[in-house]
């Protein structure tokens, strides 16, 4: 292990900002009241939640009454999809999503298929974009929900959300977007985007883990997922995670005020990384859309090597990143996103996701590139695939 840790996995999670942590602290200790209690300690907690709700609403250009706190982004996705499906099942049983959604959406849709719903999984092009014409064609009279992510967590590609929202609105289909990876990087306006439901999660933008939110446009027909007390205006039972909600509110406020500056910084780091990696390492491919992409996310496939080995070796140098290889996904296939953009299995296995954030520096990029080129060379040196490639290339030279 190196003594210097370079965290390049901000798409996985982020550290809670000190000012966010400070805002949360009192609600663990002296201001511990239950927001449902009528005495002042309870009312203080309730007020803190209301303020956080206002902040989330402001960040999305929504009304505070349309914001509901959840225990995670996954819960928000589950609620949006199952809630709309169950509430509207008499109208129809068809749902449209994409092949590159987060598992929180994909596995929820697969669950609903078992419950008798029909799901269309829209393919994406080599950059990870859906085709809006195809979406229009996929809409049937019995389509009740379109759920398409705003920005992809692995390759960073940003979908044409306004256009999708407009299509959904015109056809009278409810539109949910999983914006978990986009908050803090993409300016959100649920009104101009024609979004009916939107999921978000605090820990992706320097807030705490274990708290998320679902925006539900007024008038949307949706059933509850949690049954119990009257919290969240009887829509989501559970004693509120007051400190977490306060943290989410503070974090989203900071994030939305800093979007432009933050994006500029991230883009500069990504561009430096892309340039230097392209210069130093041959036989690679950058994944995701060149422009319509989260500015801090760089996804690269290195031919002839496997992603987990790459991650372990980077970790030995103190560099923390992630991969879409089967070995790291916990399943046996490489990332469904990389396969959906058309990468062959063997190339998808050798992929690396770097995601820059707040504390990333140019020196981090230089160190990364330096170590990465050594590690890739070392792994290729022991790869039988590379051996075959070199021998064949050599042979071709003599033909």
């Amino acid at each position: 292990m190196s003594d210097r840790l370079i965290y390049l996995d901000h798409a996985a999670t982020t550290a809670v900002k000190p000012e966010v942590f400070e805002a949360m602290k009192p609600y663990f200790t002296e201001l511990f009241g239950n927001p449902s209690s009528i005495y002042s300690l309870g009312r203080t907690a309730k007020k803190a939640i209301s303020e956080a709700r206002e902040k989330v609403a402001a960040a999305l250009n929504a009304d505070a009454k349309e914001i509901f706190f959840t225990g995670s982004g996954t819960e928000a996705d589950n609620w949006a999809i199952k809630g709309v499906a169950y509430a509207n099942r008499k109208k129809g049983k068809h749902i449209i999503t994409t092949a590159i959604e987060h598992h929180a959406v994909l596995h929820t849709c697969e669950y609903l298929e078992k419950e008798g719903f029909e799901v269309t999984y829209l393919p994406v092009d080599e950059n990870g974009l859906i085709c809006t014409k195809r979406l229009e064609k996929a809409i049937r009279p019995d389509t009740i929900l379109i759920t398409i992510m705003l920005a992809n967590n692995e390759i960073g590609t940003i979908q044409p959300i306004e256009e999708i929202g407009e299509i959904a609105r015109q056809k009278g289909v409810i539109f949910h977007t999983d914006a978990v990876q986009a908050i803090g990087n993409v300016k959100i306006d649920v009104k101009s985007m024609n979004v009916d439901l939107l999921s978000l999660s605090a820990h992706k933008f320097y807030g705490p883990k274990g708290v998320g939110a679902l925006y539900i446009r007024k008038g949307i027909n949706i059933t509850n997922l949690m049954h119990g007390g009257a919290q969240e205006r009887k829509r989501r039972a559970s004693t509120e995670n007051v400190a977490g909600i306060v943290g989410l509110g503070k974090a989203i406020e900071i994030a939305s005020n800093n979007i432009e500056q933050y994006n500029k910084k991230l883009l500069a780091l990504s561009q430096k990384a892309i340039e230097e990696i392209s210069e130093k390492i041959p036989y690679i491919k950058f994944n995701g859309h060149q422009k319509l992409r989260l500015p801090g996310t760089v996804n690269i496939s290195f031919r002839f090597i496997e992603g987990e080995s790459l991650l372990l070796m980077l970790d030995m140098k103190g560099i923390l990143a992630s991969s879409g290889s089967a070995c790291t996904s916990g399943s046996l296939d490489p990332s469904h996103v990389l396969l959906a953009i058309g990468l062959p299995h063997e190339i998808a296995h050798g992929s690396l996701r770097i995601s820059f954030g707040e504390e990333s520096t140019e020196q981090d990029v230089s160190f990364l590139v330096e170590q990465l080129s050594l590690i890739v060379e070392r792994l290729r040196g022991m790869s039988p695939l590379y051996e075959d490639f070199v021998k064949n290339e050599g042979r071709n030279l003599y033909v």
Binding site: E306, E308, S325, C327, P334, P344, H349, G381, M382, E387
Partner: protein
Amino acid sequence: MYSDKVMDHFANPRNVGEIEGADGVGQVGNAKCGDIMKMYLKIEDGKITDAKFKTFGCGAAVATSSMATELIIGKTVDEAYKITNAAVAEALDGLPPAKMHCSNLAEEAIQAALEDYKLKNGLTDEADVCKKCCKRCEDVHDLIDEDM
């Protein structure tokens, strides 16, 4: 998730490389699964005097390849045949359940290299060779799915 021994063999793999004019060469796995092992053996008087490997794969795949070469150097062909995937995994102080197929790959790579040696020396029929190395990842994967 990995034992110290796995990490050691991953970080400092023993016997990486190729053997020029090897007496037996075996390659198993496929790129689609994300792991390929290629084993080179030097065999003198029925005894394995050197082994080298090249592996495309995860940490466990590299570590099992490295351990497999250590286990077979100095062994006779017959002894090497008897080395099981469990023995390779055990020598590494165990592997996570999802990674046990890597040790299968190590066992298969040894056997594939030994079959190649036997074939080259007229000790076996060609027909036998595939039996040791034709396990496709789907088969292995099905086994893992059942485990989990």
